[in-house]
């Protein structure tokens, strides 16, 4: 059981690198959506006795991240007529190197944390830090506004990974909080992107190019 879970975590971290290295926005959206779906199923592996509420939350998270948000973002790209290149400030190779560095540091850092014994063996904590780091990298090194949205999504995924440790203690609070945050954030930014693009007289912004 735990071997499979570790593999899934590694896949989730690998998706970080995909998101950093892909040059097409559509590819990044797909990577982030896949990561979201993957993360959505993680509670199954961590907690053996999930209640109905847990299942409902899981289902909502998977549908939201796997279906609704990607569709919404693709729609925004179409509506705002955004070109498909990512346009990084730092080159893809450098981004990947920075991501690798961050992941390595995350592994070192999490080994120094005072975690409970049941959590120390998991890759969950380093994966969480690595994902948060990737989100920051995406936020700071990508020029387009839509990439900021994706950066936030990755950031939230990282926080969610950490939150999984607490799922048993306060499942509803963590999940609902994260979902709500995500939903509003994406929604608001999507609206901004489309409305900025739809008013031709406004100053040219990075979301349009």
């Amino acid at each position: 059981m735990f071997q499979i879970f570790d593999v899934l975590i590694i896949v989730a971290v690998a998706l970080n690198f995909v998101a950093l290295g892909v040059s097409r926005i559509r590819g990044v959206i797909n990577a982030v959506a896949l990561q979201g779906v993957l993360l959505g199923f993680f509670p199954l592996f961590i907690h053996s006795n999930l209640e109905l509420r847990g299942f409902v939350l899981m289902a909502v998270a998977v549908i939201l991240k796997g279906r609704f948000i990607p569709a919404f973002l693709l729609e925004a790209i179409r509506e705002a007529d955004i070109r498909h290149e990512v346009q990084p400030i730092v080159s893809f190779i450098s981004s990947l190197l920075l991501g690798a560095l961050g992941t390595a540091l995350a592994l070192v850092f999490s080994s120094t944390l005072p975690l409970t014994s049941e959590h120390t063996s998991l890759l969950l904590v380093p994966a969480s830090f690595s994902t948060v780091w990737t989100g920051f990298l995406m936020l700071t090194t990508r020029r387009k506004a839509i990439m900021q949205v994706l950066g936030f999504l990755i950031l939230e995924n990282g926080i969610l990974l950490f939150g999984l440790l607490l799922l048993e203690a306060m499942p509803f609070l963590v999940e609902a909080g994260v979902l709500l945050d995500l939903f509003t954030g994406v929604f608001v930014m999507g609206i901004i992107i489309t409305s900025v693009a739809s008013s031709p007289r406004s100053a040219p912004t990075t979301c349009r190019s």
Binding site: I89, F136, L139, T140, T141, R142, R143, Q148
Partner: protein, 658 residues
Amino acid sequence: MTERLLLCAIALAAVSGMPGVALGRKSMAGQWIAAVLAIVGSGLGLAGLVFFWMFDDSQPVVIPWHLPGAEFNVAIDGLSAVFLVPIFVVTMMGQVYGLAYWKQTDYPQNGRKLRFFYGLMTAGMALLVVARNGILFLFGWEMMAISAFFLVATEDEKPDVREAGWIYLVATHTATLGLIALFGLLHAASGSYTLAPLAEGSISPAMATSLFALALFGFGLKAGLMPLHVWLPGAHSNAPSHVSATMSGVIIKMGIYGLFRTLSLLPTPPIEWGVVIMTLGAISGVLGMAFALGQHDLKRLLAYCSIENIGIILLGLGLAVIGRSQGRADLVVLGVSGSLLHVWNHAFFKSLLFLSAGSVIHATHTREIDSMGGLAKAMPWTALAFVVGSVAICGLPPLNGFVSELMIYLGMVDLLQGSSAAFGGGALAAAALALIGTLAVACFVKAYGAVFLGVARSQSARQAHESGLPMLLALGVLSACCFAIALGPLALAPIFDRAVAVWAPDLPEAAPRLVTLAPLNWVTLMGGVLIAALIAGRLLLGALLRHNGSTRSVTWGCGYSAATPRVQYTSSSFAQMLVALFSWALRPQVERPKNLPLFPRAARFHSEVGDVVLDEAVLPSFSFAGWLFSRFRVFQQGNIQTYLLYIFIALIALLLWR
């Protein structure tokens, strides 16, 4: 009972301006409601105080509050009671005065705002004085300070008013910063925000000194202590006059209250604190009066006099601190009583002066002293009120200023007789107090002479008329307060004895009382005789003039064939010698014609005394800070990616720091 009445009074004051906000812009109803609520509220508050003094009735009101560390803890004691009196009396008179001075029908655009914040300010002051919890105190303090900002900025369409308002806001928030640090430190020292005396030896001397320094800074800034007074002249002169009266009469006293309260909480102070307070008091007193002498704006002149009076109050407080550190009960009693009585006196005569000045400004539409003149004929009652205020502020018998200054003088004489190290200090302080009194006489002879005597110097002064009944009523009540204190100090002695007991809880039970230390019955007797002699002299003079059949003529007519108002002393020419004596501190800006030819043509003379600390220290340091911060623009480029990077760097730094 007392606390309940006081809370009612506070609530009524707070809501007094609110009905008016809902009423129309041109409706006088809101103004009358505000005045009635203020009168009822102040009446309840004063009744509560009488209850307290007569029956020693006090049941603290304690209500838990979910804010961490805070507690709605309200109680009265001898010290709070003393400060509540001017709050209730002066604000009540301010509201009455406002009925005629700031009519809603004349000022539809800002009258409602003014009364709304006036009520809130009153409530804030009363709340902070009875608060026994540091956080509740700060609530009251900010309520007062922010409301006062809106009051100063009542006529915010004028640039001068806006500037004064901003300077005031910066100053008051700097003061609050000091107070937050003070209460934080007090919490660290005592473990709670409750304002209760700290046990002897419970805090280290370094901690005690830090607390004292913070209190002196925070409260001193509000009180208008000399180097920290920069906000005061502008704010007092640009606010509507009844607001100036309240600010000068009451708000700055809240700084004094804070100092008194903090010192009452701390253990026995070292003698150095007393010396520091006395020195600052002497500087504020002498220089405050010197600056007042140089002013041409009537309200600015009065504002600088407030600084001077704060100096006198601090001289008394310093005396008391020295007395406490040396275990000299007589100094404590005389210092605290003199200082607190001067708080009352200044509240009454300074608001009387500001309200009379407002009456003059209302009639002449100018604040320039040199545009007035001869107003005693047109406005006899205002002139009389101004005389009463002037005699009182100069500390001359038979009025109230004399009584409090006498107590402080007596304390200083007592200090001279002791063998303590402060021996020479007492002599210097007494000399400073005497100098302050002398300068005050010069300043008010100038002010009264230029404003009320002689002949009118401008058209608007010629057309002046006496003010309306509500304004005269307020002037009358405040004058009566001045006379009452002057003639009945004996009756007030127990009130101050109570305050002394609160301020210095370590004083022995058998400590001398005020009555035994100051010849209060002689004060009453002498005052009564003097007043009787003055009235008799006036009647005699009137009878003589009538008997001789003298006629009325132009003042200073002196037989000139073509007399002109311009031959009169102006405010600057009258004060010229004294301003020149203090020119090292005042730095007057004089613009005069040079090298006059044998037959001079029309020339121009102009003199002005600005605020040295504000113009030469505070504003330059602000512009330097502005320049310094403009260097940081490199970091602010409007790029969201960069900002996110900053956040990230800060996060990493915080993680690494621990």
